[in-house]
Symmetry: C2
Subunit: 342 residues, 2 copies
DNA sequence: CTGAAAGCGCTTACAG
DNA sequence: CTGAAAGCGCTTACAG
């Protein structure tokens, strides 16, 4: 049982009051420079490290941030999370990582726990596009920023992709191939990003004079295997050449597996485009054509917005008034990256 | 400024003491069942959530765990982290995610911060194999478990891969190709996993009657690009067929890129084997031959060991004696996964 | 410029 | 079985 240096120990060691030591350590103005230096030196010598739990308790606020995404293993979210961690670290915050696996129950439980932990704020992609989580956060008065998805276009603060553009670009690119069938392996249809991309896809087809067919859109693809299964079924029914647009690179990988299994070639038999620009796929042959998304920047921007929002709330709390925060909705620009699969 | 229900509010609402409410909520034995039910119901009704900061402060311990790896974006660590998060969540702990980027300074700073946060324990892969971090953890008396690397074979508690076996299996497999040159693109040579794999590699060559040459081992490969550069240089000097063993799949991907750039084919011109079994690579053609590593299990096991160790310490602290923890060293079995690149 | 004192929300040893 | 009281390590409003 080691014992840790406390403010009290420093105070006793220097024969000053705890108050004075605290002030010196916190850059409080009314303290003589000489005293201050003396105290700082001694603190360093004693390897003093303030007890953040005590401080958080006293100040009724922590430097902890809840970071809730569906799965840290997903290369897309991995990069977003890295961007968040980077910014939060720089500002003295710490990230509590939580995987929701798109499970609303789990997500709301996380939020309850985060409330207990008194976190300063939360970054999240609401699982399956549910509004329960934001309602809870609202109710608990916890600042939050949505990342990669929103619930309503004009509501809340979020940073997302311009999904309409992304879907439009991708579909337009596929149209240029002139294949009769242009499929879209979509994610959960209730989610904003799925909706946006589908809208873009439809508009692009229309602009190209192609009448979209209902069976072209296959919703509910969550991972590689779903992409594989969906593409497999497509290739059983439809003769190549065929075009396939995927909600994510993960899905596109699965689809590519089905294509290769049938001994079809990319892009000749199947013109394939993914989304996300997962780094692995730009190295390997065939290098995947995809929509580039600034994943780290999305994470960083989300983190920065959250910090702003936290500061606004802290200021408001001090003055005991309503936080003057005005929601900000930010869309990031996608980028068409034409490589080898279409 | 919402206000949160406290123990005091419950006590006042029910006209009992704070002590009684606290006991009811914490399953303390001496409390009448009737009272207890009454209090629990009321707490639920009031949506009471204990203030963990206050509780942590009082008990001088938190349910926070520091999780320090080089980069959450690395598919290998992403899976390890997922395994950790899973177990920790189930036991009521929360993970603070920190990326060290193999930077010792950054890592020691993290540990200082974690001490301030009073974390219950730390899981880490010591950056670049440094011993400074464990020394600090020791000094601060913070329970920790090393993951994927150790400092000394018989010291500390860790869960790692049987790297010797992994290196041996991979090299032995390559030997079966009979190519004259058998390269090994290694990671940082000061790290235990690099050493173990190199030893296995050397032994395998010896067992196969191949005299290892110094220039075959290229150390310091950290990422895809390093793998690419190293393989490129190899292919400039050496005529195929050639064999290349890689410390990671990430490095193997880079190497594969260099192979493809030269219009060589796998495994005909270059027999390639990676390590880690990154899921993407089992889907795409050529499907990578690799060494399978139980990444999630490694994370889970590390988390379980840490929890055990934390419990041992808590018990010891209560009794005010030394923790009876005996270090455990666990090695996980690698698995040779022969697919298409060798 | 310095310091005594209150108090953040809990748990727990102790008295009844 | 119930409750009054101390105290965890800090910060901060206040008095001097």
């Amino acid at each position: 049982m080691k014992k840790v240096t406390r403010l009290k120990d420093l105070a006793e060691g220097l024969n000053v009051s705890i108050t004075t030591v605290s002030k010196a350590l916190n850059d409080h103005p009314d303290i003589s420079p000489k005293r201050k230096k003396e105290i700082l030196d001694y603190a360093k010598k004693m390897n003093y490290m303030p007890n953040q739990v005590a401080r958080s308790f006293r100040q009724q606020k922590t430097k902890l941030i809840g970071v809730i995404f569906s799965d840290n293993t997903n290369p897309f979210y991995a990069r977003v999370i890295r961007g968040i961690e980077e910014v939060m670290f720089r500002h003295g915050y710490h990230c509590i990582l939580m995987n929701s696996y798109e499970d609303v129950e789990r997500e709301t439980q996380f939020i309850d726990e985060l409330r207990g932990l008194n976190v300063a704020g939360v970054l999240l992609t609401p699982a399956a596009g549910n509004g329960k989580s934001t309602r809870l956060l609202e109710q608990y008065d916890i600042p939050y920023v949505l990342v990669n998805r929103y619930l309503e276009k004009e509501k809340n603060t979020y940073v997302a992709l311009d999904d309409y553009q992304a879907g439009y670009m991708a579909a337009k690119h596929l149209c240029s191939y002139g294949n009769e069938n242009i499929f879209f392996l979509n994610f959960l249809p209730e989610v904003s990003s799925s909706k946006g991309r589908e809208a873009g896809y439809r508009q692009a087809l229309e602009d190209c004079g192609v009448a979209a067919r209902a069976e072209w859109i296959i919703a509910g693809c969550m991972n590689q295997n779903d992409g594989y299964e969906a593409a497999k079924r497509i290739l059983e029914k439809v003769k190549p050449p065929v075009s396939i647009m995927c909600y994510s690179d993960n899905i596109a990988i699965g689809a590519a597996g089905a294509v290769q299994e049938r001994r079809y070639t990319l892009p000749h038999d199947v013109a394939l485009i993914g989304t996300d620009d997962i780094s692995l796929l730009s190295f390997l042959s065939p290098r995947f054509t995809t929509i580039g998304v600034p994943k780290m920047r999305m994470g960083r921007k989300g983190a920065e917005l959250l910090i702003e929002r936290i500061r606004a709330k802290e200021k408001a709390d001090e003055l005991d008034e309503e936080s003057g925060w005005t929601d900000q909705q930010i869309l990031m620009e996608p980028e068409l990256l034409i490589r080898e699969t279409s």
